[in-house]
Structures are given as structure tokens and as C-alpha cells.
Amino acid sequence: MKVLGKKVYVPMIMMGDARSSERNDPPSISEVVGDDYHSYYNPVKYYLEKGFKRIAAISSTQNYIWGLAQYRGYSAAYKECGIELIPELHHFLPDLRDQKDWLEAAGESLRKIITRKMAPQVLVIPGSCFSTAVEIAETNNFKIPDDLLIVTVSGKKQSGAIPQSVTRFSDMIAEAFELLKYESQSNGKVKQRRTVSSHFYP
């Protein structure tokens, strides 16, 4: 990215985090990122306060900023509510390059969580897992319990009854264009990070 930045003499910004476990502060180029921390914190805190104690979550890989932020949000909600976190209820997805392998890994995490003796009451999962969750369960001979409350984490608000934690793509894009305009007016010297809020819809 630094090499590209040196050779391209036009304003440049990045959407999303760099593939790294830590952020550079200040960022080497301007960037617009989603609030991954609150995308998990908000729903977990909401249900803990409602009296649920076993809230499971599958988050992105721990190798990168966003997966770590999701986990920090998940565990912070437990800590703030004074409830002990059950480590087996959280799974990181692996950093796989193949979509099929990735879905298989998601299925395996799902199976381990669902088939626990003390099954979770709520499950927070990436939206991309949800569409295939039922299929994965059927293929792997387990069933998603009817009383399990599933919360999806995604970039687009869907209609329907499923609780959602949403960091809107559209908000990120609007912010990206705004930041690019600012960079353009400032001859590419802004180097600012803007975080787009996550909203929870129970």
C-alpha cells in the first residue's frame, strides 16, 4: 500500500482495515472503517441485560483487526454486565482463502456451539454464515433449535423478524466519498480514519 501510495499522485483512501492485527496510528492513508467492536458489543449487551446468560458468537479471524475488535466487543459486554463469559461459546473463523473451506469451518464452529450440553440461548453470527447455517446443520446431522435466537451481523438492513447488527455499506460508501473529496481539496494530506457506527435492531 505504501509503495502504491508513493507512485500514485491522486487522492487515495481505503475502505475497511488493512490485513493486519494492529492499526497504524496515524493511518498511512485515509480510511473508512466499520465499528466492528460495537457490531458484537451492542447485541450481546442487549441480551445480557434482558437476562440471557448463554450468548454464543462466531466472529471473523483473530489474525486481523476486525475479528479481534468483534471479540473484544463480545467479551466487554459480558464484563460490563458482570457475567462470566463461557469461552466455548465463542469461536473465531479461520482465515481461509477458499469459500467452500470457509463455510465448512463455519459449519464446524456452529456444530460445536449448538450441540453443547448447555446450549446457547442467543447466537451472534456473520450474515454470510446465516444463509447457509440451516443447510450446514442438515448436512452435518444436527438441527438449529427453534428457540435459539439468531442475530446476524451484516452491512445491509434486511426486512424481517431476524435481529440484526448492521454497519451499513451505504454509510461507509457515503463516508468514503466525503473523505475522498476532503483529501482532494487538501492535496492528499488528510490521513484521517473515520469509523462508521454499527446499529442494532433487536
Binding site: 502504491l4 507512485k7 491522486v10 487515495m12 483512501i13 475497511g16 469459500q99 451484516s154 452491512g155 460508501i173
Partner: protein, 154 residues
């Protein structure tokens, strides 16, 4: 072949992306008209109907106009003088919900601001791949800015 062809977008959108990039990049600047539908269908190995849908998208994007007897004429002056936003992707293992939605919405947002969108993909971080992108960015099209999407290493 444009990296867009690896995406899950419908065939006509991939072709429209590819043609748009060629138009703005100046590939048809001497003729100022696109090849005939049947030639494009052969070139992309798709039906003429798919090509028509791709061309309709270019008409909607104000890049070409269909003129009876002349074919699909490129509105070249406008394409070259207008500002272009480049969407540069890198290291996206597969087309996720995020990338597909993002690309669509970015193109719409750019169009709403009277920008054209150029889609480019950085294959890897080798100096030849970077040089290739730099060359494409400096090919004469007026670039307003670049938005990077994907797993960029710092």
C-alpha cells in the same frame, strides 16, 4: 482478462464493466464506435442478448449512444474529460456479500455525483502488478481519486 470476470456479477454487468474500462482507457478511441454486437458476442463468448444488456447499461451510464446505421457510438469527449473514480480491489479471496454490494453501491453513488467508475484489481503486491496499475492510472483518463477495497497490507 479483466479481474471482474472472476466475480459473481451477472455476465452482462461484467462485460459492461470491461467495456467501460476499455472505453475510458481509450481502447476504442480511433474508431469511436464499439465493435458490432455479434463480434462482441463472439469475443466474450456469450449470447447477443447478453451483449445487448451490457450495451444498454453503457447507454444508461451515458458512455455510448446507439445510432441507427452507425452502431454504438462512444461519447468519447465526455468520458475522457469527466472525472473518474477508481475502485481498486486487492487480495479479496472471493466475492463476498460485502464486495458485491459495495461495488454496486459505489458505482451508483459515483454516477449520482457525475463521476465515472473505473474498476481495477491489483493481482498481488509485486512491483510489476503495481506498475501495471500505475500505468493504467496514468493512461490519460482524468482521475479524481482512488478508493481501495480489500485486504491491503500496511
Amino acid at each position: 482478462m479483466n479481474e471482474i470476470f472472476k466475480s459473481n456479477l451477472p455476465a452482462y454487468e461484467k462485460i459492461a464493466f470491461d467495456l467501460k474500462e476499455k472505453i475510458i482507457g481509450g481502447s476504442y478511441s480511433s474508431a469511436r464506435v464499439l465493435p458490432e454486437e455479434r463480434n462482441l458476442a463472439e469475443q466474450y463468448n456469450v449470447s447477443r442478448n447478453t451483449i445487448r444488456n451490457a450495451l444498454d447499461k453503457l447507454v444508461q451510464d451515458n458512455l455510448i449512444k446507439k445510432i441507427r446505421g452507425r452502431g454504438n457510438v462512444i461519447k468519447q469527449e465526455k468520458a475522457v474529460t469527466a472525472d473518474n473514480i477508481v475502485i481498486l480491489t486487492y487480495d479479496i479471496p472471493y466475492q463476498t456479500d460485502f464486495t458485491i454490494n459495495t461495488l454496486h453501491m459505489m458505482e451508483e453513488t459515483a454516477a449520482g455525483m457525475s463521476f465515472y467508475t473505473l474498476y481495477m484489481h491489483l493481482k498481488d503486491n509485486s512491483s510489476s502488478s503495481i506498475e501495471n496499475i500505475v500505468e493504467r492510472l496514468n493512461n490519460g483518463a482524468k482521475i479524481y481519486g482512488v478508493i481501495l477495497i480489500g485486504g491491503y497490507t500496511s
